[in-house]
Amino acid sequence: MWTICRKELADHFSSTRFLILFCLILMVALVSTYMVASNIREALEGVSKPSQVFLLVFTTRGEFFSLVQFIAFFGPLLGIIMGFDAINRERQHNTLAKLVSQPIFRDAVINGKFLAGVITVSIALTALLLLLVGMGLLTVGVVPGVEEIGRLVLYLIISIAYVSFWLGLAILFSIVLRSLATSALAAVALWIFFSFFIGFASSLIADAVSPVRNPRDPEELVANRNVSDAVNLISPTVLYSQATSSILDPYRRTRSNLVLTGPLERISMERFRNPLPLDQSLLVVWPYLTTLGALTLICFGLSYTIFMRQEIRSL
């Protein structure tokens, strides 16, 4: 398995794909630091006692996007790029039959490839994060505290898990589908659905299941919202954004998007806004993390079983 992993890693690093990817990472890092540097002042305006300012480097929306949003949208693409041709490339080059006739277990092939993908993704994401931290230090001039570093590490781990989910999905498609183009397209289609269309789909389903007849009735509103949130949770993109937003934004203390508050309550909440400690933030997002982990495992498990049972003849 390590031999395969090593070879795949070498392949990843020497490929043009990786070079493009690296340029992209560099570009993203530069652009987002620039945007943060010019926007962080506004973000801090009116905050009486700013704490954990450093995290704002990652969550501040500049002119276009924050880094967190960027990874939520384009992280999947990273996973898909690494995995969409894992198995069917070997099939197309007639190397798969040779590979499985070597004295290795068949699962070593798929494990090695998955592992190599995860390692590559980890390196890319870590590099991106470190670059941003470095440039953030230079431009903003705020030194991150221990808790902020902890949050960042946690964020990194969740991001790697998230991209690994897409990697697993892409590998699954590369096993099931013969042609390289089809498997890439299938993975991208799913990505687009989960990133852009899940919102429509969830509100459609919610309107069908529990329609809002009276827009002033809070119970109906909440019921509708609950259904739509539940549907949204199928999407790993939603899971990931929910999970990381609370990790990186210590002021968020609830998972639900809709909290009905009166104006007085809102004022009192604003006044007593204090950051949650890290372990509490973690507790808030725990369900998302487990679901995300479960999805990744299901995906990989499915590829594993299909690949193990696939008739060699059809390899």
């Binding site: 392949d11 080059h93 040779k98 499985v100 006739s101 070597q102 004295p103």
Partner: protein
């Protein structure tokens, strides 16, 4: 002479279709066994079952004393299998391709360069080892395929259509190489083909398959004698055609 491959009623069904039907045969040490039959006769399926890459529906097999369903790893360690239309990693050089295979076979890292040189020399590719696979001709690729098998120092070679698509000159060199390996290293060879005169040239024994069944097995002389009174010398082509008229 010990028995290298032995099968007992080996059967493989795909749904209703029977790919291999009750195959019983033996291949002995140091033989060059020609495995003949038209396309779709079940040759490749048989080979895959012998390597443990496909499970038989019924029957059993023993390769080098191991059961392919139970000990596929041990068999794959000692048997070199050259698939039909073998592929390589085109963005690596011949040497790098060999190194990957050597590592997969757990050859100690310090012995790998020596083994690679030996394998390349044996197939006559020593000058080409550092070229990218994309620049290899079909004949060179096929020879590199053999080199990949030699690197694991096999006791048995299973070659699926090793001369398919090669020009006559290269084909002859390939056949000579197979004979040399068999004689000098004492490797048993099982090769499937439908190019009969090639098989006749190098094989010590042949088996003919049709529609999943083994219809004949023996030396070419034995098969020729089975019908006395027939004119002509022991020509494999005549034997082959005869079996197809019967079945």
């Amino acid at each position: 002479m010990s028995v290298i491959i032995q099968t007992e009623g080996l059967t493989r069904r795909y749904g209703r279709q029977v790919a291999v039907d009750g195959l019983t045969m033996e291949i002995r040490e140091r033989e060059i066994f020609g495995f003949l039959g038209p396309n779709g006769a079940g040759k490749t399926t048989t080979i895959l079952m012998l390597l443990g890459l496909t499970q038989p529906t019924a029957g059993s097999a023993r390769v080098l004393g191991y059961d392919p369903s139970r000990d596929p790893l041990e068999i794959k360690r000692q048997v070199g299998y050259l698939p039909e239309n073998v592929g390589f990693y085109d963005d690596l050089t011949g040497r790098e391709n060999l190194r990957y295979i050597a590592r997969l076979n757990r050859i100690p890292e310090n012995k790998i360069p020596g083994e690679i040189e030996a394998a390349l020399t044996a197939v006559g590719l020593n000058g080409e080892g550092d070229k990218l696979l994309g620049a290899y001709s079909r004949g060179m690729r096929q020879r590199l395929g053999i080199a990949e098998l030699l690197i694991k120092n096999p006791k048995l070679l299973i070659l699926d259509e090793p001369t398919l698509g090669l020009d006559p000159d290269v084909t002859n060199k390939m056949l000579d190489l197979i004979v040399t390996l068999s004689r000098e290293r004492g490797i048993t060879v099982m090769l499937s083909s439908h190019l009969l005169n090639q098989v006749q040239r190098i094989c010590t024994r042949v088996g003919i398959m049709n529609k999943g069944k083994l219809v004949a097995i023996g030396t070419i002389e034995e098969l020729a004698k089975r019908k006395p009174g027939e004119a002509g010398g022991p020509n494999l082509e005549e034997i082959y055609m005869r079996y197809f008229k019967e079945t």
